[in-house]
């Protein structure tokens, strides 16, 4: 049982000017499953490797269970890098495959048996303990490998993209298994991934990191409902949030000939550096089709529609001026810069239509263009 603390931790690689991880402050609570997510090169793996002792810490401290481990060797930290490539030994029984590392450490036989039986119960391998790997299915073999990490009962599990070398089918299955297993074991876990879906589905909390700087830490719903900045808004969620910059005229967002009302408390936070503009974000499910006379709505030229049975999706370009603006600013959107709206599939418009869209004002995400920080 252990809490992990990154206390003002910085890592600068030799020959680099910029830190790969910059002044990181992060607490992982005892027993918590924390997912560190971000794009490639953001410093997430470096963070994990500093905790593992594979990378040096240039500034700051790392604590595991209250103990400063900043300069400690990897093997003395009581951490386990989980089942990246554990091999199964054909002549050994399942029990021996799981417990041999304890034998090396000189753990008494009864204690080994106790821990192996406990792990086997959690992994549903009890009846196979005396079998050899040959008589197991692929899923069971995978679980024996997991068992090898579990029986060590380390203070912390570290997982660096553990699903990346599995094929798509095994990946989804293993994702569920890891999350369920961690909940049962209650071992503090740091899990690194580039995949925001993995982060949302697995973590108790998610830490989003970009260019070595921590952006936001929170429960999946917190990050989804109240992203702290434009980057988190665009990174978390699939399909991703629609995010556009608009001029502010008379306290409203000007979208072509249309306007959209904005809350006063957000407008008050805009500064001269924002040049009378505002970044408006909304999720595809937080907008809907409006009537032609609806004043608080904007026009969208439909480029593509999808009928998924339960949901329909409209993809389009927001109409500004009289034409569809080609230079429409759309940040961090993965839908080819098209605005995405989820609608009732029974009332899907046709491609080429211009439709009116209104956004649920309570679900609007507003950011200041100068800082990209949330202002509502």
């Amino acid at each position: 049982m252990a809490e992990v603390i990154f206390d003002h931790v910085t890592r600068i690689y030799p020959g680099n000017d910029k830190p790969s991880v910059d002044d990181l402050n992060l607490d992982i609570k005892d027993g918590e499953f924390l997912v560190l997510v971000g794009p490639s090169g953001c410093g997430k793996s470096t963070t994990l490797r500093m905790l593992a002792g594979l990378e040096e810490v240039n500034k700051g401290r790392i604590l595991i269970g209250g103990k400063d481990v900043t300069t400690m060797q990897p093997k003395d930290r009581d951490i386990a890098m989980v089942f990246q490539n554990y091999a199964l030994y054909p002549h050994m029984t399942v029990a021996d495959n799981m417990g041999f590392a304890l034998k090396i450490a000189g753990t008494p036989k009864e204690e080994i048996r106790k821990r192996v039986e406990k792990a086997a119960e959690i992994l549903d391998l009890t009846e196979f303990l005396d079998r050899k790997p040959k008589a197991l299915s692929g899923g069971q073999r995978q679980r024996v490998a997991m068992g090898r990490a579990i029986v060590r009962e380390p203070k912390v599990f570290l997982m660096d993209e553990p699903l990346s070398n599995l094929d798509a089918k095994l990946r989804v299955q293993t994702r569920t298994q890891i999350a369920a297993l961690q909940r049962q074991l209650g071992v503090t876990t740091l899990y690194v991934t580039h995949d925001q879906t993995e982060a949302l589905t697995m973590g108790d909390r998610i830490a989003v990191i970009k260019l070595g700087i921590l952006q936001q830490v929170g429960a999946p719903t917190e990050l989804y409902d109240r992203p702290a900045n434009v980057f988190v808004a665009g990174f978390i969620g699939s399909p991703s949030m629609n995010i556009n910059t608009h001029p502010v005229v008379n306290g409203k967002a000007q979208i072509g000939a249309d306007t959209m009302e904005l809350p006063k408390e957000a407008l008050d936070k805009l500064t001269p550096e924002d040049n009378n503009e505002i970044i408006v974000g909304f999720r595809p499910e937080d907008a809907s089709l409006a009537g032609p006379d609806d004043t608080n709505a904007f026009s969208l030229k439909v480029v593509n529609v999808e009928d998924l049975g339960s949901d329909g999706y409209i993809y389009g370009n927001i109409v500004t001026d009289d034409s569809v603006a080609a230079e429409q600013v759309s940040m961090m959107s993965d839908q080819n810069k098209l605005t995405t709206i989820r609608v009732n599939p029974r009332v899907l418009p046709k491609v080429g239509d211009v439709v009116k869209i209104k956004v649920n004002p309570a679900k609007m995400h507003l950011f200041a263009p100068s800082t990209e920080l949330r202002i509502n």
């Binding site: 690689y13 030799p14 020959g15 680099n16 794009p39 490639s40 090169g41 793996s45 470096t46 593992a52 002792g53 594979l54 990378e55 040096e56 060797q73 990897p74 093997k75 990246q84 490539n85 091999a87 199964l88 030994y89 054909p90 002549h91 050994m92 029984t93 021996d96 041999f100 590392a101 034998k103 090396i104 992994l123 549903d124 079998r131 050899k132 790997p133 040959k134 008589a135 197991l136 299915s137 692929g138 899923g139 069971q140 073999r141 995978q142 679980r143 490998a145 660096d160 993209e161 990346s164 070398n165 599995l166 094929d167 095994l170 569920t176 298994q177 369920a180 297993l181 580039h194 995949d195």
Partner: protein
């Protein structure tokens, strides 16, 4: 996982290949049709049954060689005159491993040679198949399990560990973090009385400018754990001499690594009057098989002490010397043995005053070539000529000792071929058994483990139909 890209990497490594493993956060589309990026131009590569899962490839194109334990499907396939090892893995891992192996090859490190990455595979129904990494089978090499499947000298485990320690030190000096060191991830070549180790699995590795101490220590600790596990497994299968202490052998790796690392990187301090100690240091490194390319010699400010540290070392001291003299490219200890025999030949023919290059040409024609030509054809695919020569020399020594007088080389060869060689060869059944064992560790191919319960050892109550894998995680 990928470590920081650093512009200071060796330029040879930077320009090693056109294949760049993609950022897993932003992968491009899987190629819609078969794509082979290959370092070999053999058109026969295109005629292989890429549209079939590797585990179902027809037997007539496979080569029955012993395989190591792997989590993935691996097969040896004959392509023209070559034998290639094929490993079925995800595209990103295949591309990454290919790229890394190419880089390590450019740095002259002992690894298997990458041949190709095959992506965009689809079966007959258009369903996508995993990518395949193709490497060249390292001729005469064996996985450690195959070495223990035959009666070998009792110190085999120790000799393998020594070879692995040399490999690790060489990789670490070059900035390669392995992340998964084990006997299974290495192939061994007999090297006179010792072994040479070659890296075969670089899935978790990364090439950097310099490793941190934490990375080296992690590799060492993982190696120790894995080696002990692998030996305990051999012991469970009664393939290990009963008096071998697995933990002691694992600890030997740690000791060997540290002593070699320190010999290659420590700074010596001595008085200016003891400059001969520089030569002593260089000789010591030569004995360990390393050439010193650059030596840093500095003095303390008061001029009373000299500090000496090797800056650039290259493995293969004897190998290069023999290569220069004879054109033979063999393992380090074999080279040392051959050089010794060359010296003995020179002395016995009273030619000490002659150029060694000239003597070497005659030794090749009169001694080495006639000997290795006597390897019977049926053994030529199984024993390396230089190793054969070394073993015949050993055999001749024993014969001479027994007889009390010198034995002609031709007699020694005949006796060796008749009495010793057949015992060293592996039969097809042993290979089949080894490969069945190796397959029992595969986790990602149904064709492999679905077959398994059909031949249960002592698990006769096991029925895969009742394996409720899917339900396990619901509670």
């Amino acid at each position: 996982m990928s470590f920081n890209d650093n512009p200071q990497l060796d330029p040879r490594a930077l320009k090693a290949t056109s294949v760049k493993a993609e950022d897993p956060a932003a992968p491009s589309e899987e190629p819609p049709s078969l794509k082979i990026t290959s370092a070999s131009a053999d058109p026969k590569m295109f005629t292989l049954p890429w549209e079939q899962p590797l585990s179902t490839w027809p037997k007539d194109i496979l080569v029955n060689l012993p395989r190591g334990i792997s989590r993935h499907i691996v097969r040896f396939v004959r392509v023209g005159d070559e034998v290639y090892a094929m490993k079925e893995i995800t595209r990103n891992v295949a591309e990454r491993e290919y790229e890394l192996l190419r880089q390590l090859q450019k740095l002259n490190l002992p690894t298997v040679q990458p041949i190709a990455v095959v992506t965009g595979r689809h079966d007959e129904n258009g369903e996508p198949l995993e990518a395949i990494l193709v490497t060249k089978h390292l001729r005469f090499s064996l996985p450690y399990r195959a070495l223990f499947a035959r009666t070998l000298r009792p110190d085999t485990a120790e000799r393998l560990i020594d070879a692995l320690a040399v490999l690790m030190v060489r990789l670490h000096l070059a900035g390669f973090y392995w992340g998964d060191v084990s006997l299974s991830n290495v192939l061994f070549l007999k090297d006179a009385d010792a072994f040479s180790a070659f890296l075969v699995d670089a899935e978790t590795g990364d090439l950097q400018v310099e490793l941190t101490q934490g990375q080296r220590e992690y590799d060492i600790d993982l190696a120790r754990t894995n080696i002990i596990g692998e030996l305990m497994d051999l012991s469970s299968g009664e393939l290990l001499q009963p008096d071998v202490d697995e933990i002691e052998v694992g600890n030997r790796l740690v000791d060997r690594y540290h002593s070699l690392w320190s010999a290659l990187t420590d700074t010596d301090k001595f008085n200016p009057s003891e400059m001969w100690k520089i030569e002593k240091r260089v000789n010591r490194l030569n004995e360990l098989g390393f050439d010193v390319d650059e030596l840093e010699v500095t003095t303390t400010e008061d001029g009373k002490r000299v500090l000496v540290r090797p800056r650039v070392v290259d493995a293969g001291y004897a190998n290069r010397k023999l290569l220069r003299l004879t054109g033979l490219d063999v393992q380090e200890n074999q080279a040392r043995r051959l050089l010794n025999d060359l010296d003995a030949y020179r002395a016995s023919t009273w030619r000490d005053g002659e150029d060694l290059e000239v003597v070497a040409t005659d030794w090749m024609r009169e001694v080495f070539e006639p000997t290795v030509r006597m390897i019977p054809p049926e053994y030529r695919s199984q024993i390396d000529p230089a190793q054969f020569f070394h073993e015949v020399l050993d055999h001749r020594w024993y014969m001479a000792e027994k007889a009390g007088h010198d034995v002609p080389m031709a007699d020694a060869v005949q006796s060796y071929v008749a009495e010793i060689l057949p015992k060293q060869m592996m039969d097809a059944k042993t290979v089949d058994d080894l490969n069945a064992e190796a397959d029992s560790g595969v986790i990602d191919d149904e064709a492999t483990y679905d077959d398994a319960p059909a031949h249960p050892d002592d698990d006769d109550d096991y029925n895969p139909e009742f394996d409720q894998d899917a339900a396990v995680w619901s509670h």
